[in-house]
Symmetry: C2
């Protein structure tokens, strides 16, 4: 990388070589390769043959420079280590690749300054659009994207946005749905293990929605013990331990992620707390691991892959259709499995 060996005549054929071999001008060769219809049948074939024979690969930088279209899209996600984000990128990438668009990926590790840095790099690379996670971003990041006229789409959120598009779901509604589900089962003492809410509007939204619903149903949200934990099984386990230390132990716990929920179940196992008889647990995301715990995990399904492919659709859409797609709220289903049950008799 430090020193690029640009061999004697290596590298490869350029468009001018193709044109020479096809016995036509640079302009014509370019037109053929770009599918411009204003060029004759015979000419077209000669160029195609020449290009194939030389193994011609266009120089994307030159093309991007001249045409201002890089066919590059950037994605900034918190981390690839969490399946929920990796899957979204998979959906995004798959759909874009079908259309010859490449994805540059970068990670922010939930740090807004790092995100700004990554965004600057993406703009520099010529990304035509940038996919972000959530709605909380530094003012500078937004200013950059708007000033440089870089289209962008927020995922995992359906909050109204000033610019770009939002394609996701309503985290507060989802949190409320979880509360409603547990309250309907007769639980009155709820608890929550939330993701770290700092700079994380999704984790915050789920928590807020959960507590709001508790209040709406006439209970005291202040009485709901809440512990935050990083998205690791072990933090879920420890968070569950903390929840069991409180005065009035909850009989049902909502976790901001299946990872946390899995840790919570693990703790219950270790302590002989029977799920769901003694304790109901609800997760979030519907990861593959939700079916691996015993009992299997009741959870809220997040359409990660779909958000990615819908973001791709938005990006690929012509400007005229973009308005329609600016705000897409996907439904969140609750998947009921074995980890939840009726509240124990007091």
């Amino acid at each position: 990388m430090a020193d690029r060996a640009q061999g004697s005549e290596g590298g490869g054929a350029k468009l001018v070589d193709v044109a020479r071999l096809a016995n036509c001008s640079l302009a014509t060769a370019s037109r053929v390769l770009n599918g411009n219809p204003r060029v004759g049948q015979d000419e077209r074939e000669r160029v195609m043959r020449a290009a194939a024979e030389l193994g011609y690969v266009p120089n994307g930088s030159a093309r991007a420079l001249r045409s201002t279209r890089s066919r590059l899209v950037g994605a900034i996600i918190p981390t690839l280590d969490h399946a929920i984000y990796a899957t979204m990128v998979e959906g995004l990438q798959a759909r874009l690749a079908e259309n010859g668009v490449s994805v540059i990926i970068s990670t922010s590790h939930y740090d807004l300054d790092l995100e700004l840095e990554q965004a600057r790099l993406l703009v520099e690379r010529g990304a035509e659009s940038i996919v972000l996670v959530g709605s909380t971003h530094s003012a500078q990041t937004m200013a950059l994207l708007n000033q440089k006229r870089v289209d962008h789409v927020f995922t995992y959120t359906s909050a109204a946005v000033e610019s770009g598009a939002a394609i996701g779901f309503d985290n507060e509604k989802a949190g409320a749905a979880a509360a409603r589900f547990l309250l309907d089962l007769g639980h009155t003492r709820l608890g929550m293990i939330a993701g770290i809410t700092t700079n994380n509007d999704r984790a915050k939204g789920r928590l807020d929605g959960f507590l709001a619903e508790v209040a709406a149903r006439g209970h005291d949200p202040e009485a709901v013990p809440v512990v935050e934990g990083a998205y690791k099984v072990e933090s879920g386990r420890q968070a569950m331990r903390s929840l069991m230390d409180v005065q009035h132990r909850p009989t049902a716990v909502f976790c901001g992620s299946d990872i946390l929920a899995t840790g919570a179940i693990k703790y219950c196992h270790q302590q002989g707390i029977v799920v769901p008889k003694d304790m109901s647990i609800v997760g979030f995301d519907n990861l593959e691991i939700a079916e691996l715990t015993a009992p299997e995990l009741t959870t809220l399904e997040v359409p990660a892959r779909e958000m990615g492919s819908l973001a791709a659709n938005y990006i690929l859409a012509p400007a005229t259709q973009k308005r329609h797609l600016r705000q897409t709220e996907l439904p969140i289903r609750i998947i009921v499995r074995g980890s939840t049950g009726a509240a124990p008799r007091p």
Copy 2:
């Protein structure tokens, strides 16, 4: 995306604007921004100030075109849906980002032709290096990379390579280690649930190594039942069912992935087969889920993240040091947990 709105004077400041504001030449401005030391202190400061004031962001395409250095690296992995690959990319990306290098990601879904297509796209985008998974690739892909002088590194394998570098581990040795471990526990009837071996040298290598060790220890490898399954929990479950259908049921099964192993354990649970009393199970990868099964999974640890960051190191290394790094074999540890035990008395 269809039509790039290149606003009246939007877009942003160019280098010439910076130079004008700093009252110097284009050349000087360029030198300052690239850290070229042959420029005066005052001049340097004026340029820096001007760039900051204008919010100047260089045009990567132009830079890449002229300098033939794109600061772009490509990665082609089977899928982002499997944590083992996502984690490798995370390691790769993290290390490269520290050095201002961006990663374009694309997926092949285990299809060599698709991989070729992605490789061509990456070359077109100006990727200076490409990270591949495994050692099995189409001849055309290799020809392309060699002809276009694109450096490349193979991961998840330590096989000798004709070009580029290999940074990974020996899948055959790993398979053999699994066999040795189970044989040492006294098991004589082994089975294996392998990943799909078509176009997958890693899955194939683990299988081959496993059988080779069985043979080396004086057993008949032909007698070892083998089922292949896609990397899904459900296929692991079904594969286990098939294995139980054979004449002499195995007492220990080696799975080519933790995902498969998890499915296998699930099947055992459902059928009342007690792990590890009646059945020992060994996984591969040491994913986070390996600690979630009951009992926890004995498995071989794959240094996914480390492979990614080492690949990045190779890519970033100056040409003089690359020779040293061309072949890196990482050790594979076996992590013994509860899913394995002594062979049952006959």
